[in-house]
């Protein structure tokens, strides 16, 4: 399955995304079949629906353990997320707003060049016409293609599994944007003013979801997860995938979950449920 066959159609509430919904080769807009979307996923093959039986206890959550300021991160943790598409509201964009507010990115009404750290996507099964919406951001792969292709070493993966851009050595070549199968990264075309002090960003660099690394280092949850559990459906569960006792580990052990484009073997940190 080539990458061009895998295109996302945008959710209605997010008309300003930089995502192109057209195939690069044919130039035609293609509906994504649910089969394409799940192809390569061992878990999805059976098409088992556990929809009604599932309950995620996202309230209360499984937040990052607060670490001492002086302590370095380690590979004992691997931060990840589980998103339950059934609990994600069709027109809800609480996670997107929360991310934008937390990290200070905003767009200028220019969909081709605007910054997008997280967006809502909509997938439709043409046979049943069943639509599913869910947020999509950097999935924090274990084997990130963006890190593989980066010519300067600016794209890197922290020991705890968070994939980041070192803006000090990013030259803005955008090779990582080409490499990412999820279109998770965007390029800062415009000069930025009044950045958040915990989220530096500027013109000429590629950027993407940081999993709110500044909050995780303080032992808090990412902004989108808190916002979703506070004022939306509680569809997002954050936690440590390496800790067998964590709620996220328990949940993915018990229920069938999906890795987007599992056929690529990237072992993503953000998994989906009920898509």
């Amino acid at each position: 399955m080539t990458r061009n066959n895998f295109d996302f159609s945008e959710a209605g509430g997010c008309g300003t995304s930089s995502c192109s919904c057209k195939s690069q080769d044919t130039g035609k807009a293609e509906d994504v079949t649910k089969r394409d979307f799940l192809k390569g996923s061992a878990y999805a093959a059976g098409g088992i629906s556990l929809t009604s039986a599932l309950t995620l206890f996202t309230f209360g959550g499984s937040p990052a353990q607060a670490k001492e300021d002086e302590t370095a991160i380690s590979s004992k943790q691997r931060w990840g997320m589980l998103i339950d598409a059934d609990k994600c509201g069709d027109d809800c964009d609480t996670c997107v707003s929360a991310c934008s507010e937390e990290n200070g990115w905003k767009n200028t009404g220019n969909p081709l060049t605007d910054t997008i750290w997280i967006r809502k996507i909509k997938v439709k099964n043409p046979e049943t016409e069943h639509e599913t919406t869910m947020p999509l951001m950097c999935l924090h792969c274990e084997k990130p293609p963006c890190v593989d292709v980066c010519p300067t070493g600016a794209s890197f993966r922290r020991d705890d599994g968070i994939v980041l851009v070192d803006r000090h050595i990013c030259i803005g070549c955008r090779y990582c944007m080409m490499a990412c199968p999820y279109k998770a990264r965007s390029f800062a075309h415009e000069a930025v003013e009044d950045q958040k002090e915990h989220a530096p960003r500027g013109i000429g660099c590629v950027e993407s979801c940081t999993l709110c690394v500044h909050k995780i280092d303080k032992g808090e949850q990412p902004a989108c997860v808190s916002a979703c559990s506070k004022s939306a459906g509680g569809a997002m569960l954050f936690g440590d995938l390496n800790d067998p006792e964590s709620e996220i580990s328990q949940t993915i052990k018990k229920y069938a979950t999906t890795q987007m484009r599992a056929d690529l073997g990237l072992n993503v940190g953000v998994r989906y449920q009920n898509i």
């Binding site: 964009d93 997107v96 507010e101 905003k106 002090e197």
Partner: protein, 204 residues
């Protein structure tokens, strides 16, 4: 003969590795060592210049003459190191700290740019903290003097965060009326036309 050649080879290798360990290893020393070295050097320089000053009976150079906004932190507290040391080494300190923070997640306040900005914030005439675009900004006091461009504030905030209604940051809630957008476009078009028109006139 073969043994002699072999012995020479082994000896050569040994000498080579010894030389490498002596000369190359210090070059590969980490940023921290470099920083510590510079700090020590600065401290000795400080002592030296103090003695010189005392010996010659001259007064110390007035900090204010070097720039506009030197001195202790605006919040009244003391800086993390003596002023002279900071002047000489702040760039190495924040460089070292930056990598610790980004790669290791160590977010202590010592030598963090965020803390620099927080303490050395300066209020402008309007009572709000000024940005680095303002010549009165703390960093620009020296950087303008020595003509060293500051790259930090292309990405980093140059003033402490002001808590305000950030609802306008949300691109996904349709707050702007289409009319507002049209107005903006008109303004842009007008500005562009006048700019291009001005250029055209200049050419004539």
């Amino acid at each position: 003969m073969k043994r002699a050649v072999l012995a020479m080879g082994v000896l050569g290798l040994a000498i080579f590795s010894a030389v490498q360990m002596t000369f190359v290893a210090p070059v590969n020393a980490g940023a921290q060592q470099l920083t510590e070295f510079r700090i020590a050097q600065a401290a000795s320089d400080n002592n030296k210049s103090d003695k010189d000053t005392k010996a010659s009976g001259k007064t110390k150079p007035d900090a204010a003459k070097l720039g506009t906004n030197h001195g202790s932190a605006v919040n009244g507290g003391e800086c993390i190191r003596p002023t002279k040391e900071m002047r000489k080494n702040h760039m190495d300190m924040i460089l070292h700290k930056r990598d610790e923070t980004m790669y290791k997640g160590i977010r202590t306040k010592d030598a963090s740019l965020k803390q620099c900005i927080s303490c050395h914030a300066i209020k402008g005439d309007e009572g709000t903290f000024i940005k680095a675009t303002d010549p009165k900004h703390f960093c620009r006091g020296c950087h303008d003097q020595v003509a060293v461009r500051i790259d930090c504030f292309d990405c980093h905030a140059s003033r402490p965060e002001v808590k305000k209604d950030s609802a306008h940051l949300n691109p996904h809630q349709k707050r702007l009326s289409p009319f507002a957008l049209v107005q903006d476009k008109k303004a842009t078009a007008t500005a562009l036309n006048s700019f291009l028109g001005g250029q055209a006139n200049d050419k004539k």
